[in-house]
Every structure is written in structure tokens, then in C-alpha cells.
Subunit: 160 residues, 3 copies
């Protein structure tokens, strides 16, 4: 049996959530050439935002790690909706993460590893990515984090 992102999700005991509605008049993703990119993804669980406030204040680094992992799960659900099958993805080439971080805390790269580690867990080599990290003082819905994924798709006639 072929190992796929979907089978790894199953092995991890993680179900893809329903994709969330956006917060404005924009699309959940767009595609240009073979580049698929998502709009911002939040740490929703069954439609309820799980982490609000600041890293280093309301939330520990390990909670931030869990929040980034959960937002990435939501992002993967979005990729799945865009792609049909996650095997159409050749590479998750970029992760962009935004966190709200208290001025006394500099551990947000470790929190964002919750996203990076999960991508590698689910996509294997195809999950190896470069990344950008920001801190923002105000987040939509007061979310602790926002995750954006950028994926390269296989050409239609070259799918793995």
C-alpha cells in the first residue's frame, strides 16, 4: 500500500477538519501556474478557535506549538479541498507563520516548529520547506497564530 499524506494522517489518528470560512471577501486559496497558496489558517478545532492571546502571556511555548500544529492541520484540509488528493502536491515549499508574542518572549520560532514538524510528519520529503516568521500585535479573532502554506503541484500529466 502506497504511503501518502492521507495515509500518514490516518496513521497519526488525525482527521482533516471541515475547512473554515474566511473572514472577508477573499478566496481560501489561489493557484498561479503550479503554485497553490492558501489564505490565512487558524487553529480551529470543530469550528471553534482554540488559542487566543499572546505567546509568553496567555500561552506557553508548548501551547503555541500545539496551536501552530492545529492551524497547519486546517491548512492541510484547505490544500486537500483545493487538490482533491494531497499526492498532487510535489512540495510544500514555503510556510509563512504569524504569531502574537509578548515582548518578554523570544521562543516563537520553537512554537512555529509545531507547523514545520507536522508538515514533515505528514508529507515526508515533500514537506521540506523554507519559512517566514512574523510577530503581529493584533491578530484576527485575537488568534494566537496564523499559518499560510505554499505548495508546488505536479503537472497534470506527471502526478506521482
Amino acid at each position: 500500500m502506497m504511503i501518502t499524506p492521507e495515509s500518514r494522517l490516518m496513521t497519526a489518528g488525525v482527521a482533516l477538519p471541515q475547512v473554515a470560512r474566511g473572514l472577508g471577501n477573499y478566496e481560501p486559496y489561489s493557484i498561479v501556474g503550479n503554485q497553490l497558496m492558501t489564505s490565512g489558517q487558524f487553529p480551529y478545532l470543530k469550528g471553534v478557535l482554540q488559542y487566543q492571546g499572546q505567546l509568553g502571556a496567555e500561552h506557553t511555548v508548548s501551547e503555541g506549538y500545539a496551536a501552530c500544529r492545529l492551524a497547519t492541520l486546517n491548512a492541510i484540509a484547505q490544500l486537500k479541498q483545493a487538490c482533491g488528493e494531497l499526492t498532487r502536491i510535489k512540495q510544500i515549499y514555503r510556510l509563512e507563520g504569524v504569531l502574537n508574542v509578548h515582548e518578554s518572549c523570544f521562543e516563537h520560532p520553537k512554537a512555529l516548529d509545531g507547523a514545520s514538524d507536522f508538515l514533515l510528519e505528514i508529507f515526508g520529503e515533500a514537506g521540506r520547506h523554507s519559512r517566514m516568521i512574523w510577530t503581529n500585535p493584533v491578530m484576527p479573532l485575537n488568534s494566537l497564530c496564523l499559518v499560510y502554506l505554499f505548495a508546488e503541484l505536479y503537472p497534470d500529466d506527471e502526478q506521482k
Copy 2:
């Protein structure tokens, strides 16, 4: 008569402004392959910055909406200068918006809809985009917002 972004601007009674000078030693846009991307665009009217300060402090959400719309008008002027004709644009595939937002305000996605709505108004289906949203504590010129557009161009031999 063909409906174009230019004709929709005329119908809306909106003239494209002269493009603004950048704030440093960079280009107003760049093109890689068929991807055209602008540098940051401000809410200028006749060369004068219209909105400064914070959303939720100096400015209401509806003023923020107007500011994002105006910055997007300036961005479209930039695309026009880059393209010659806006019909060369196949898709505005990405909008990236930065706002300065007071800590008590979480309505910045609604303000950024001033950009999103305007793209759909002027480009129709070709204006459907994914988007990124940030808040920043300090903005160039103390501007309320900054807008960046990413557009896919038709290949030269395939223009609509």
C-alpha cells in the same frame, strides 16, 4: 463594447492616479515569469497621504475600508503602468495587506475588504484572490495601511 478593468473604472467614476514614488532604492514592481508583483502602495489622493494612525484609534473601520480601497486604486495604477493595458492581467491572484491596528480592535479584516471588494468590482472574476493580512506597530509615513498586489499575466501570445 468590451468590458475591461479600464471601462469598469470609468463606470465607477474613478480615475487612476499618477503612481507614487517609492520610499527607498527599490523598484515599484517586478516581474518573474508571468508573475507581476508591486511594492507597497499607500492611500494617496493627488499625491497626499490620506490616512495616518491606527484603526480603532484615529480611524474607524469604515475609514480603514476607504483607506484600503484607495491604496488599492494606487496599486492598480501601478499595475497599469507595468502592463500598459489591464487586460493583460489574467488574475489578481494575491492581495497582501498590512494595517496599523489598536489593540482593542479586531475588525481589520473588514477594513481590508475595502481592497478585496474593489478588486472584484474592477477586475470581475479576474480579481478573485487569496490574501494575507498583517498588523504592524509602525508604518512607513505613519500610514494606516499598505497594500501589495500579485498578478498573473497572460502569455504574450494569449492575451484576452
Copy 3:
């Protein structure tokens, strides 16, 4: 003798540093199609971070300029490692810069010119770029700035 980015670095008396380790479980760069993009680059000198704190507080604008130049030198070292030869780069088409800026200071675009000017100095016409600028309240390692570069590569059979 051909003028190359490498020869211009030599003329400028600047040696490329060893590339720095990332701060998490991500790659230092990724490539999609002919687009090469780096992860965040810091103002390291011989492995030691040189600029911490805020522009307009701990650091003047000219120090910020030097910090952005130094971070860009580190980014170029990263491009070199990715490319082998910097002549494989057709265009540095995008610079994205993040700074930590005191609320009383609006001169961060001038500081980021330390990156822009250096790209033009080392890459000539191929260094002409559009750019994005952000301010963030908390930076990894409390760095004054972060620089990201995006480069278009020549096709393998078309290298300059």
C-alpha cells in the same frame, strides 16, 4: 575578466560568511520552478548577532542601515550555497525586510535601503528588486532586522 557578483564582492573587500543555522525545523532555502527563496537571514558577523533591539531606541537609522546590509550579506551567502555560482541568478526580484522599530521612528525604509543598495552594488542590474517592508514588535533572537531574498534563476541551458 567578467564582472560577476563574486568579483564585485571581492572589489568591495567583503567575504561571504559561513551560512548560519536556522532557528527551527525548516530549510534555509527552497526552489520552485526557477524561483529560489531564502528563509530569514540575520545580521550575523562571524556567527555573532550584531544588532539587537529597536530602530530609534537602541539603534540609529545608520546602524539599522548597516544591520540590513549585513543581513543581506548573509542572505547572499545563502544564495551562493544554494546556487554554486551567483551568476546563475538572473534577477533578485524581491526583497522582504522586517524590522523592530520604536513607535517614534518612521525611518525604517531608509534602514532597509542598506539591503537594497547592497543588492544593487553586488548584482548590478540583476539586483533591481521590488520590496516589502514590515515592522514587528518581537523578533527572533531580538534581532533588529530580518531579510528574505527571492531570486529568479536562469534555466540550466541559458546561464549567462
